[in-house]
Structure formats: C-alpha cells, structure tokens
C-alpha cells in the first residue's frame, strides 16, 4: 500500500484523520519498553509487533500502519493495557486503528468487511444473530467456494449437536431497522 495514496484516502476522510490523531495522542507517552509486545499472545503471528506499530503511528508512517496485519490479530485480551507502565489504553487504540482501517474500506480487509456487514444485516433483520442464515449470506457475498468449504466440517458437527436452529428467513421490516436508520442519521 503506497504512502501517497494512503495519505490521499485519509485526507478525504477528516473523521478518520481525527480518529487517527486521537490514537496518536493516546500512545504519545510510549517509552518503547516492549512490555505490550512481550505480553501479547498473538505477537508471534504479527508481521509488526505492537511496539513497532506505536512507533509507526508516532512517526506518521501510515503506510506501515495500514499495510500490517497487527490490528486484525488483536484478540482484545486487554493484557497489554493492564501491564503498560505508562497506563496507555493500548487495546482501545488497536480497536480504533481497526475502525480507521475499515473506514478506509481498503480491499485488503474485504473479506472481514463482508463478514461484519452480513453480521450487522442479520441483527438489523432479526435483533438476534441467526448463524445459519448469517453465514449463508456471507458465503454468497464472498463468492469464493473455498470459504464455505472450510466451515462445513464445523457446520456438520454443530448440526449433529442440534445447535443450529433451523429458522426460516423472513422478509419485511427488520426488528431493529428503525434503530439502525436513526443511528445512521444521528451520526452525520
């Protein structure tokens, strides 16, 4: 992801720029001690450790920030926030970076965006999550047969334990539709 076009995308979204500046302020007093990276259970899988992420944020290297997998791998286990000697809200900052990344709807996160969209539509419709229908809509949206294949194993097991309730889809106004719309209005 090249530096310049990231900057352009950000320039187009003042709300996201403000949110990124807020993250920068939250981690300003980081003393690079490495406690968060050392505590993170998923640090081993990340291409860029949290310590290096905060460094990139503070030195405005947005290219490195948004070309990394770090915030996608954050399990929100809050160990880093508990132990940070500077008391910084690190897990919150990671979540905010994730929001900015999704805000920019970069195609690198297309699959996750579709999953979350399917999830939210499901809630909008039924108020509560109906896994079978929600996963079905997600598989359709992804248009990639390998994805459903990877879930069939688990699906059958859950079916055997009759944990997937066979609701039939219903149409018509969503149970939380008015709430969702009003919230959408509220935000602008």
């Amino acid at each position: 992801m090249h530096l310049t076009d990231i900057r352009e995308k950000l320039a187009a979204r003042p709300d996201l720029t403000r949110q990124l500046a807020q993250v920068k302020e939250q981690v300003a007093t980081c003393i690079q001690c490495g406690t968060c990276s050392g505590s993170c259970p998923n640090a081993g899988f990340m291409d860029m450790t949290p310590r290096r992420m905060w460094r990139a944020v503070l030195t405005d290297r947005v290219d490195m920030v948004f070309s990394s997998q770090t915030f996608m791998l954050c399990a929100s286990c809050y160990v880093c926030t508990l132990r940070c000697p500077r008391g910084l809200p690190l897990t919150g900052a990671m979540a905010e970076l994730k929001q900015v990344a999704f805000g920019l709807n970069l195609d690198r996160f297309k699959r996750s965006t579709l999953f979350y969209k399917a999830f939210m539509d499901n809630i909008r419709q039924y108020g509560r999550v109906r896994e079978t229908e929600m996963m079905a809509r997600y598989f359709l949206a992804v248009k990639d047969p390998r994805v459903p294949m990877s879930y069939t194993g688990m699906g059958i097991k859950l079916m055997a334990k009759h944990k997937l309730h066979p609701h039939l889809p219903t149409w018509g106004p969503g149970r939380l539709a008015p709430l969702f719309d009003r919230a959408k209005q509220q935000e602008r």
């Binding site: 286990c77 508990l82 979540a95 999704f102 939210m120 809630i123 108020g127 999550v129 509220q186």
Partner: protein, 280 residues
C-alpha cells in the same frame, strides 16, 4: 438473590448448553433469573468495526430494557464478550452525559431511555460473591471427590474491568470447585488468551494458543470455562480429547442434577469420562 438475565445470541445457538445449565443451576440454588424481555444482540466485535456509534447503542438498548423492569436487580451475563460490551457501554454512558443524550434520541425509536444506573455482573462474579459457595458445599456432598479440575477464566471477564478477581492470577473458581469435593489443578494458564475471534479467522493461532493451554491441563480430568468463545475454541482445537464443560454444567452435576437437564449432550468435546466419575 434474584437477577435479570441476559443470555446473548450465542447462548441461543452454538452455546445452547451454557444457557440451559445456567437456568438449571440457579433454579437449584433457589435464585430467580428473569430474562430481560425483548433483549437484542450486544454488537459483539462486528459493531465496533462497522459503526462505532452503533456499538454503544445496541448494548444501551438492553440496559434500557433492564432498567425498564425497574426491579433494581443486577444484570447477570454468562457470556464474557456480551458482559464486556454491556459493561463498557454502561461505564461510557455513566461518565459521558452528551453520549447518553445522543443514544437516548436513537432509543426513542423503541420508546426506551437508558440511565446507565443498572449494575452489569458476570456469572462468575455472582457465583463467587453472593454466597453460592456455601450452598454448593451443602448440596454437593462431595460428589466430585477425586476429580482434578482446571479452572479456565479467559480474558474479558477479568480485564480490563477488575471487579471480583486478580486479573493476572485469578483464583475465584477454586472455592467453587473445592465446594464440590473436587481438587483444583495448580496451573497458571487460567487467564491466558485462547485467541478469541482471531482463532476462527486464523486457525493456526487457535491451534497453537489452545494447544499451549491444554498441554498444561494434561493432568486434569476436565477444564471448566465461563465463556462460550473460550469453550468453542478449547473444544475445536483439541489435538487429543480433553473434556471441556461450562461451570454451571459442572456445578449442576455436583448437585446431583441429571446430565440432560444440563445440556451435557451438546458439548462438542467428549465429556463422558467426567459424567461417569460423578458419584450418584
């Protein structure tokens, strides 16, 4: 003591047995659980990424419903993720009046208003601090004698809100387990993350983290959990069969309740070795 009950979406689906065993256990302990009428999803991890404002409105709706019952009761939440979302919303709304005003404008659609005065408590918080230990001790008659149990807490019921136990070395389940006559495995993986949602998107994460946890639990007869996500991960990524049961299931069994009434058939992992060891 009575409580308002917020099961959460997974307790209707993939974690059905957690809901069943919760209700059965509290009934046996003579505490009444009244489900919050018309509760909806708390937004889980999805709302945050799609629409941050919505990730406050959804849990706020449920808080408003709980307050609407004006019973003054605490809200009991078995699922750690829902507990954290509701708790975070309750704290933000309590501290930020402007946000609360904005959220109430949206809740008007459903004729609701949130005051954020209700107390949100996790299942384990209630079981440890409201006298359940003594009652379990009387009723269980050491049925679980000889069993070694590994208490697994997960993350979000302990952190970041430190309410009822040590966030690094939790010990709160020990009293409950010992009350049933069983022994507690001395391990310190109780509060180590199982990979949560990242385990589903990146299986190798789940495999390694869960592997490391279960490896420590080799000498235990079963692992007891208090969160549907942890239960799912611990059962899915098992290299060899380790019985994993919910805490209410385990406590229910220790009170002599029949396995079916606790949804023991629905666990993904094979928990028969535990069931056979329970004295009549």
């Amino acid at each position: 003591m009575d409580y308002l009950y917020y099961p959460g979406c997974s307790l209707e689906g993939t974690a059905k047995e957690y809901d069943i065993s919760c209700r059965a256990l509290f009934e046996a302990l003579e505490d009444r659980l009244t489900e919050i009428p018309d509760w909806t999803c708390c937004g889980a991890t999805a709302a945050q990424c799609v629409d941050p404002f919505l990730s406050v409105v959804l849990p706020a709706r449920n808080l408003a419903l709980a307050e609407k019952t004006d019973t003054g009761l605490d809200v009991l939440v078995p699922c750690s993720a829902c507990y954290l979302n509701l708790k975070k919303a309750r704290q933000d709304l309590w501290e930020n009046n402007a946000l609360r005003a904005q959220v109430n404008q949206v809740l008007e659609e459903d004729g609701l208003a949130v005051n954020a005065s209700v107390r949100v408590r996790h299942l384990l918080d209630v079981l440890t601090r409201d006298g359940a230990v003594d009652r379990v001790a009387q009723l269980s008659e050491n049925r679980m004698k000889g069993l070694v149990i590994a208490p697994y807490y997960g993350c979000q019921c302990l952190r970041p809100y430190v309410e009822f136990d040590d966030p690094e070395q939790p010990r709160s389940m020990d009293a409950l387990i010992r009350a049933t006559g069983a022994d507690v495995l001395a391990w310190d993986m109780g509060a180590v993350c199982c990979g949560a949602s990242t385990a589903t998107t990146k299986p190798q994460v789940g495999k390694e983290l869960v592997g490391r946890i279960l490896d420590q639990a080799k000498t235990a007869h079963a692992v007891v959990t208090v969160c549907p996500m942890c239960q799912m991960n611990l059962e899915r990524f098992q290299s060899r069969s380790v019985p994993v049961v919910y805490l209410p299931q385990f406590l229910g069994l220790s009170l002599g309740m029949p396995a079916e009434s606790l949804g023991c058939g629905m666990n993904l992992s094979d928990i028969r070795p535990v069931l056979s060891r329970v004295a009549p």
